[in-house]
C-alpha cells in the first residue's frame, strides 16, 4: 500500500493584491508521479514553494511523513527530504559536476576539501541514475539536459524522498525527454514521491500516475490520470472547453514581403535563403541547436551577419543593428522572455513604449505621456493582458501575460514582418490559443509572420509553410497539409555527411 507522504490541507497564501492560494489541499503518496496542472498563475509554483519552504503559508496545515511541520524553511524542508528542481537551472557553470552536487555541503577533512570522496560519492549517485558523466566535468560544458540530470542527482544526494520538478522538459529535446522519463520511472520504483509540473500535456501519459488540477489559486480536482481524458483535463484547467487547439485561418497568399538570400552568420546560420509572402505564416522547425534562433537574430541584426541580402517589399534593406530592422519594419519577439524580452524592473507601460519611443517622442526626444498611456491601454485591450494596471512591474505578470507584453510592444507599430521565437514556450493552453489567434490576425492583415517552434504539432497546426533547419542550414521546405511529424523530423536530422552527428554531452 502506498503511503501518503505529503498532506497539505486548506492552504491559503496572499501576496500584496493577489490571493495566490485559496483553501488548497494536496496530497502525495510514495512511489507515484503526481502531475500538478493548471494555467500560468494558477498557483502551482506557489504551492510547491510552500512545500519546499521558500514561501510561508498564511494558514493551513503542512504534514510531511505524517508529521505536522509548522513553519518550513528551505533548509528544514531539505532535511525532511523535500527537493525542488526549478524550471531555471541553478548551477555554477564554472564548477565541476561533483562540486555542484555537494555545493554547500562540501565534505571536508579538517579544513581541507576532500575532493576524492566527493567525486566518489557523486559517481555513485550518477550511477544510480544510469547517468554516464565524469563527476569532474565542468558543468558549463554539458548540454542543458545533462545539467538537469545533475540537478536531479544533486537532489538525490541529499536523500530526497519528495522531488518536485517544475517544467523539467521545457528546454529538452525529445530524445532527452525520454532519458529523463527513464530516470523518473526509476525513482518512482524506488519509492520516491514526485510532483511533476508541466504545460506539455502530451507527455503526461508517459510518466504520470495521478493528477491534481488547479485554477486561479483554487483546487479543482484530482484523481488517477487514467480516469481523465485529455479534453477533461484541459477543460478543468481553463474552466471552459477549448474547441480548436490550433485555430487555422485561410487567406489568399499575396506578394512577397520578405526575401532573404544567402544569409550567413557564423557556424549556426549558413546560406539561409527563403521568401515570406503576405497572408502566410511560415514556421521554422528543427531540433535544439539547429540554428533557428541564430537565424532570427541575424535577420534582426542582433548578431552580426557576414553576408547575405534582405529585401523587404522589393527594396533591399541594410540591417546592421536591431534599430535598423525595426525602422525597416522587421521585428522580433525573442525566445527567452526574462532574458531577452522584458525589462522586468520597468513597468508594463514602459516596456511597451520602449521600442516605439520614436513614435511617442517629439523631435526633441521628449516622451508624450498621453500617447504612451494610450498605447499601453490599447495593447492591453487588444491582447487581453491580465494586469493590475500598466504601472506594475512587467516581472510581476504570469508567463503568458509576459509573453503578451513582449508581443504587444511590437504590435504597437506598423511592422511588415513579425518574427516570433518560441512564442508559446512555458505558457498555458488558453494563452497559447490567444497567441495563435494573434498570429492569424497578423496574417489576415497582410503582415508576414515567421515563427520558430520546437513543438511539432504547433508548427504543423499553425504554419502555412514549414522550413526545416538542421545544423545551421535549411534542409527542407514542407507543406503542413501534406507532411507528417516523421517527415519533418527526418529533415531536421539531415546533418551534412562531413559533420558527424554531434554528441549531446
Amino acid at each position: 500500500m502506498q503511503k501518503t507522504v505529503v498532506q497539505l490541507s486548506h492552504i491559503n497564501k496572499t501576496f500584496p493584491g493577489v490571493k495566490a492560494l485559496d483553501d488548497v489541499s494536496f496530497d502525495l503518496r510514495s512511489g507515484e508521479v503526481m502531475a500538478l496542472l493548471g494555467e500560468n498563475g494558477a498557483g502551482k509554483s506557489t504551492l510547491m514553494k510552500i512545500l519546499s519552504g521558500v514561501y510561508m503559508r498564511d494558514s493551513g496545515s503542512v504534514k510531511i511523513f505524517d508529521e505536522e511541520v509548522g513553519d518550513l524553511t528551505p533548509k528544514k524542508a531539505q532535511e525532511l527530504g523535500v527537493a525542488i528542481i526549478h524550471q531555471e537551472l541553478n548551477m555554477c557553470a564554472h564548477l565541476s559536476v561533483a562540486e555542484n552536487i555537494f555545493l554547500g555541503r562540501e565534505k571536508v577533512k579538517g579544513i581541507l576539501l576532500s575532493s576524492h570522496e566527493m567525486n566518489e560519492e557523486a559517481k555513485k549517485v550518477l550511477q544510480r541514475l544510469n547517468i554516464n558523466i565524469d563527476p569532474e566535468t565542468i558543468v558549463g560544458d554539458l548540454a542543458v539536459s545533462k545539467q538537469q540530470m545533475i540537478e536531479i542527482a544533486k537532489a538525490l544526494s541529499t536523500n530526497a524522498r519528495i522531488l518536485i520538478m517544475d517544467e523539467p522538459t521545457s528546454a529538452l529535446t525529445s530524445k532527452e525527454i525520454d532519458d529523463l522519463f527513464v530516470i523518473i520511472h526509476k525513482l518512482r520504483n524506488e519509492g520516491c514521491a514526485i510532483v511533476y509540473i508541466s504545460h506539455r500535456l502530451e507527455e503526461l501519459q508517459h510518466v504520470v500516475d495521478r493528477v491534481t488540477i488547479m485554477r486561479d489559486g483554487k483546487f479543482i480536482t484530482s484523481g488517477n490520470f487514467a480516469d481523465f481524458t485529455m479534453n477533461e483535463i484541459i477543460a478543468n484547467m481553463v474552466g471552459r472547453e477549448i474547441k480548436e487547439k490550433f485555430p487555422r485561418v485561410q487567406c489568399p497568399v499575396g506578394d512577397t514581403i520578405l526575401k532573404v538570400e544567402h544569409l550567413n552568420a557564423g557556424r549556426m546560420v549558413r546560406d539561409i535563403s527563403f521568401e515570406l509572402h503576405a497572408g502566410e505564416i511560415v514556421g521554422i522547425a528543427g531540433l535544439m541547436g539547429a540554428g533557428r534562433t541564430e537565424t532570427t537574430r541575424a535577420l534582426f541584426g542582433a548578431d552580426v551577419s557576414e553576408s547575405g541580402t534582405v529585401t523587404l517589399d522589393g527594396k533591399p534593406v541594410a540591417i546592421h543593428c536591431p534599430a535598423d530592422a525595426i525602422r525597416a519594419g522587421i521585428v522580433l519577439a525573442p525566445e527567452d522572455r526574462k532574458k531577452d524580452g522584458l525589462c522586468t524592473k520597468l513597468s508594463i507601460r514602459e516596456n511597451i513604449a520602449l521600442p516605439n519611443l520614436d513614435l511617442l517622442c517629439n523631435k526633441f526626444g521628449v516622451v508624450n505621456r498621453k500617447k504612451e498611456h494610450e498605447m499601453a491601454q490599447k495593447a492591453q485591450q487588444d491582447l487581453a493582458i491580465k494586469m493590475a494596471g500598466a504601472e506594475v512591474d512587467a516581472g510581476s505578470l504570469s508567463g503568458g501575460n509576459q509573453q503578451k507584453v513582449v508581443v504587444a510592444k511590437w504590435l504597437a507599430r506598423n511592422s511588415r514582418v513579425v518574427i516570433f521565437d518560441e512564442p508559446t514556450r512555458g505558457i498555458d493552453v488558453a494563452a497559447k490559443v490567444e497567441i495563435y489567434n494573434l498570429m492569424n490576425e497578423l496574417k489576415q492583415n497582410g503582415i508576414g509572420v515567421l515563427f520558430v517552434s520546437s513543438e511539432m504539432p504547433e508548427v504543423l497546426g499553425i504554419a502555412d509553410r514549414i522550413l526545416v533547419m538542421c545544423d545551421g542550414r535549411i534542409t527542407g521546405e514542407l507543406d503542413p497539409a501534406k507532411t507528417t511529424q516523421n517527415e519533418v523530423l527526418e529533415y531536421a536530422t539531415r546533418f551534412e555527411s562531413k559533420f558527424s552527428k554531434p554528441q549531446l554531452a
Partner: protein, 343 residues
C-alpha cells in the same frame, strides 16, 4: 484605477516608481534635522541653513551624475578625479590669463572627453565599469597634477571675480548661486531622465541590457550619455570648488565619487541598475550634507564624521541589495527572481 488616480493627487505622486523609498528616506532626513536641531538650536539659524544648502549643492550635483551611471547598471569611480581635473585645469588657465569663460568651456570639453572615454570603454570595449573608471580615475587625477607642474595654482586673480561670484559667492533671491546651479542642473537632468527617450533608454539598459538591445536601443550611445552627464556634473563641481577657494588644488574632489554613490544610494538609486529617481538623490545628498554639517556642529572630529558616513553608505547599499536582489523581494514577487540558467 485611472480615475481614482486623477481624484487623488497624493496617490498619483506615490504611483511614480521609486517614490516609496524616497518618502521613507525623507522621513529619515526630517528625523536627523530634528535631532541636530535639539542638540544645537542654532542648527536652524538662517545662516546655517544657507550654508547647509550650499554644502549640499556640490554633493547633489555629483550625485546626479552618479545616479545616471548607476541606473544604467554601471558605476563611475572617476567622478572625484574629474572634479579635481576640472578645478586644476580651469584655475591654471585663469592664472595664465585666459578669459575665465573660455577656460570654463575648455575645461568642460576636457571633462566631456573623459566621460566619452568612460562610456566607450564600458559599452564598446565591454570593460567592467569598476576597472575602466578606476583607470580613468587615476588618469584624470594625473592630469590634475600635471596641469600646473605638480603644484597647486596661485590665486586665480582679480579678473576672475565674476567667475567666482557666478559659481559661488553671488546670491540671487537670497540664495547662493551654487544652490541655483545645483537646482538648474537637477531640473534639466531630471527632465532628461524622466521625460525623454534618452532617459527611458537609460532605465531600460540598466534593467535588461539584452532586451533593450533587441528593442532597438543603442546601448553604446545610451551608456555614453550616462557617463557624459556624470562628467558634466563633475566638471561643474570642479568649477565651483575653484571659485570657492580662488585657486586650483590638486586633491580637490578627493573621494567625491564615494559621496556621489552615497547620495544616490541613500536616495534609493539601485546599484543593480534600472531603478531610482533623482528626487531620491536630492534627499540622499541632503542626508549626507545634514550629517556632515550636524556632526560638525555637534563638535565631532572629521574622523568620526567619515566613519558615520561610511557606515551609512554601506548600510544603504546593504539594504538595497537585500531588499531588491535578495530573498525578501523574491518572496514578494515570485516572477522577478533572476533567471540563472547555467548554459
Amino acid at each position: 484605477m485611472e480615475k481614482s488616480e486623477k481624484r487623488n493627487p497624493f496617490r498619483k505622486v506615490m504611483a511614480v516608481r521609486g517614490m516609496g523609498q524616497v518618502v521613507t528616506v525623507s522621513v529619515g532626513l526630517v528625523v536627523l534635522c530634528v535631532v541636530f536641531g535639539i542638540l544645537n538650536p542654532s542648527f536652524f539659524s538662517s545662516k546655517n541653513v544657507g550654508n547647509l544648502l550650499r554644502q549640499i549643492a556640490p554633493t547633489l550635483i555629483i550625485g546626479i551624475g552618479q545616479s545616471f551611471v548607476l541606473i544604467t547598471g554601471n558605476i563611475d569611480l572617476s567622478i572625484g578625479s574629474v572634479v579635481g581635473m576640472s578645478c586644476m585645469l580651469s584655475a591654471t588657465m585663469m592664472t595664465k590669463g585666459v578669459n575665465p569663460w573660455v577656460a570654463v568651456l575648455i575645461t568642460l570639453a576636457c571633462c566631456i572627453a573623459v566621460g566619452l572615454v568612460n562610456g566607450e570603454l564600458v559599452a564598446r570595449c565591454k570593460l567592467p565599469p569598476f576597472i575602466a573608471t578606476l583607470g580613468t580615475m587615476t588618469i584624470a587625477r594625473g592630469i590634475a597634477q600635471i596641469a600646473n607642474n605638480n603644484y597647486n595654482t596661485d590665486s586665480i586673480g582679480e579678473g576672475a571675480e565674476t567667475f567666482r561670484n557666478f559659481f559661488y559667492y553671488g546670491k540671487v533671491l537670497g540664495l547662493y548661486n551654487t544652490i541655483w546651479i545645483a537646482a538648474a542642473l537637477w531640473l534639466i537632468f531630471n527632465f532628461l531622465l524622466s521625460r525623454t527617450r534618452t532617459g527611458r533608454h537609460i532605465y531600460a539598459v540598466g534593467s535588461n541590457l539584452e532586451a533593450s538591445k533587441l528593442s532597438g536601443v543603442n546601448i553604446i550611445r545610451t551608456t555614453n550619455n550616462a557617463y557624459l552627464v556624470s562628467a558634466i556634473c563633475a566638471c561643474a563641481v570642479g568649477l565651483i570648488i575653484c571659485a570657492t577657494s580662488g585657486m586650483g588644488t590638486m586633491d580637490a574632489g578627493n573621494s567625491y565619487e564615494m559621496y556621489a554613490v552615497a547620495a544616490s544610494v541613500i536616495g534609493g538609486v539601485s546599484t543593480l541598475g534600472g531603478q531610482g529617481i533623482l528626487l531620491g538623490t536630492v534627499i540622499g545628498a541632503s542626508i549626507w550634507g545634514v550629517l556632515q554639517n550636524g556632526l560638525q556642529f555637534a563638535g565631532a572630529p572629521v574622523a568620526i564624521r567619515n566613519i558615520v558616513i561610511g557606515i551609512i553608505v554601506v548600510v544603504s547599499v546593504l539594504m538595497d541589495v537585500v531588499l531588491r536582489g535578495g530573498k525578501p523581494r523574491r518572496t514578494a514577487k515570485d516572477k522577478t527572481a533572476p533567471a540563472k540558467a547555467a548554459s
